[in-house]
């Protein structure tokens, strides 16, 4: 308990320091890629609990992200939309602004700087609310997971993601198909990596807990797990709730990093992308999820330079696909398999190291 707390505090301080260092010395483009890596890590690690540990093949992560992103944006962003009934543009203040008003702030008189700081105050509650609403959706999706297996579950969760997207497209109040522009740029490296640390620390503890072992037991042999007294139904739903919560938070982060979201941001390719990260890293390995997330975020960007060198526009996606295909041929269990990065593994891998 104490150790977990210490790691969390150290990690969050580390994230803040990292933010300061990056902002000072590193160029904005690279910082942005690093931030995207952070979001990807949260996504992959959270999906790993559902797909990797519990073995429930879910393709609904984009749906959870979308929910988190949109709920979070309600807290931080003034929503402007065209109201067909009155034939004019309407503007709804953000929840943070409304709260500020309740505490006596005069929004009309406030300068832009003040408005920005009000929005910033809405960010943390927004992230948490996004996570919670998304977790509730996870509960709803988790229930069909009790009856469906394998491919059928994948299709059902894919359907869920698409439903979320279509529903958002048809709500003009949150931007409809056009999406929401002008989100405040609140998700900096501090926020993203703080969430990253929380997500990883929680997931490491979860994996080592009785709950984590129960999830693995379900993946390994559902019938045997049930016979051993594991409450299959409850555990599966819990896995979905856990994964959905962090996917929602990651959605909130991504929204405030990209500053523009639309339903198309969260199409099913996004879900597939996260699954590919997991498979690449090694399904069921937390280290693998982190590495997969970083590789698949950095690779397409790094290949941009290659593309410029050889002067073949578009070749980067070909190389990207080739890398994936080759990896699946030569290492189908993923980079890490089900192993975790530990000192023991390092000693074994590094030649000449002590046994």
């Amino acid at each position: 308990m104490l150790r977990t707390g210490a790691v969390l505090v150290a990690g969050i301080i580390g994230a803040v320091v990292l933010n300061a260092v990056l902002a000072e010395f590193i160029d904005d483009y690279v910082v942005r890629v690093i931030n995207l890596c952070g979001v990807a890590i949260v996504l992959a690690v959270s999906l790993n609990v559902i797909n990797g540990l519990c073995g429930q093949f879910s393709l609904g992560h984009a749906g959870f992200m979308a929910i988190g992103a949109y709920v979070c944006s309600l807290f931080t962003t003034t929503q402007r939309y065209y109201d067909a009934a009155s034939a004019q543009y309407v503007s709804e203040p953000s929840l943070a602004a409304r709260m500020a008003e309740m505490f006596g702030a005069d929004l009309a008189a406030a300068g832009s700087e003040q408005l920005q700081s009000i929005a910033a105050w809405g960010f943390l509650p927004g992230l948490i609310a996004g996570g919670v609403v998304s977790a509730l959706a996870g509960l709803v999706v988790g229930i069909p997971a009790l009856r469906l297996r394998g491919d059928y579950l994948a299709i059902a969760t894919l359907g869920f993601g698409e439903i979320v997207r279509v529903v958002i497209t048809n709500i003009p109040q949150i931007g409809g198909a056009t999406g929401l522009p002008g989100l405040p740029p609140l998700a900096n490296t501090s926020w993203i990596f703080a969430v990253c640390v929380v997500c990883i620390v929680f997931s490491v503890n979860l994996q080592r807990s009785t709950f984590g072992r129960a999830l693995i037991a379900i993946r390994e042999n559902e019938l045997a797990a049930e016979i051993m007294g594991v409450r299959i139904a409850r555990m599966k739903v819990m896995a979905f709730i856990y994964g959905a919560f962090f996917a929602g938070v990651a959605g909130g982060l991504l929204a405030h990093l990209l500053q523009t979201i639309s339903p198309a941001t969260f199409n099913f390719m996004k879900s597939i992308e996260v699954v590919v990260m997991l498979v690449l890293g090694g399904l069921g390995s937390l280290t693998g999820a982190v590495v997969g997330a970083i590789v698949l975020t950095v690779l397409p960007e790094a290949l941009r330079d290659v593309e410029r060198e050889v002067n073949l526009p578009g070749i980067r996606m070909v190389v990207y696909a080739l890398v994936l295909i080759l990896l699946m041929i030569f290492r189908p269990q993923g980079i890490f398999g089900q192993r975790e990065l530990s000192l023991k593994l390092l000693r074994r891998v590094i030649p000449g190291g002590r046994k």
């Binding site: 009785t210 072992r213 129960a214 693995i216 037991a217 390994e220 042999n221 019938l223 045997a224 797990a225 049930e226 016979i227 051993m228 007294g229 594991v230 409450r231 089900q338």
Partner: protein, 239 residues
């Protein structure tokens, strides 16, 4: 007479339209080893699945320590000491032997007792203790069967259901497994044993039921059934 631990009365179980168990009645008394023998597809495994809450009987009653458990959830039964070691050895292949055993104690909260039982399980099955860190899937068939039984023991069973412990094992290993079953029984665990290998099951049990096409055909003391001409002809390959 010892008290009755488990009592099935006239249960009927269906797989869709197929009538798998017809009016099956049987009872197990405290301290006994009772065996249920029969051919493939006779309904042995279905009987066990019904007892531990994986299948629901359409009619009839299942009583465990006097309480009706026909609608109980599996995890509730495990908490009450009714545990099954599944057929085909149903172990967790990618977990180590040690992790497999710890999952056996999943439903328990009494940590010191769990540690003691873990040591005890390794004492009963020294082979497993040699392979603590090995993955379950890399064990031999006999070792996997030992692991399945040891894992069931980890949930502190009062009534242990064993589904075909001899399945696919070499005769020598089967001897070891059954010697261990005797030993577990002597330590106070009541056992209901399902077997195709009637010969060895009858040697290592007090009473037996013969099930055929979903019906209990013959029942009685195991020693008696070994001399019963019908059993001899059909299941012991004699006569």
């Amino acid at each position: 007479m010892a008290e009755t631990v488990l009592e099935l009365e006239g249960i009927n179980v269906f797989y869709g339209a197929i009538h798998a168990l017809r009016d099956v009645s049987l009872c197990v008394n405290a301290g006994e080893v009772v065996t249920l023998i029969g051919a493939n597809g006779a309904g042995k495994t279905t009987t066990l699945a019904t007892i531990c809450g994986l299948m629901r009987p359409k009619s009839g009653s299942v009583k465990y320590n006097g309480a009706d458990i026909a609608r109980a959830q599996t995890h509730e039964l495990v908490a009450q000491g009714l545990v099954m070691a599944p057929e085909g050895r149903g172990i967790f292949p990618n977990l180590t032997v040690d992790e497999n055993l710890r999952i056996g104690a999943y439903a328990r909260r009494d940590k010191p007792a769990v540690a003691a039982d873990l040591a005890h399980a390794y004492e009963i099955f020294p082979r497993l203790s040699e392979r603590k860190r090995q993955k379950g899937g890399t064990l031999s068939g006999g070792e996997q069967q030992m692991l399945a039984i040891a894992r069931a023991l980890m949930s502190a069973p009062k009534l242990l259901l064993l589904d075909e412990p001899s399945l696919g094992l070499a005769p020598l290993i089967v001897q070891t497994i059954f010697a261990t079953i005797d030993r577990i029984n002597k330590q106070g665990v009541t056992i209901l044993l399902v077997e195709q290998n009637a010969n060895i099951a009858l040697k290592h049990s007090h009473r037996a039921y013969v099930i055929e096409a979903g019906r209990v055909d013959i029942e009685g003391d195991s020693a008696q059934l070994r001399n019963d001409p019908r059993v001899k002809a059909a299941y012991l390959g004699e006569g």
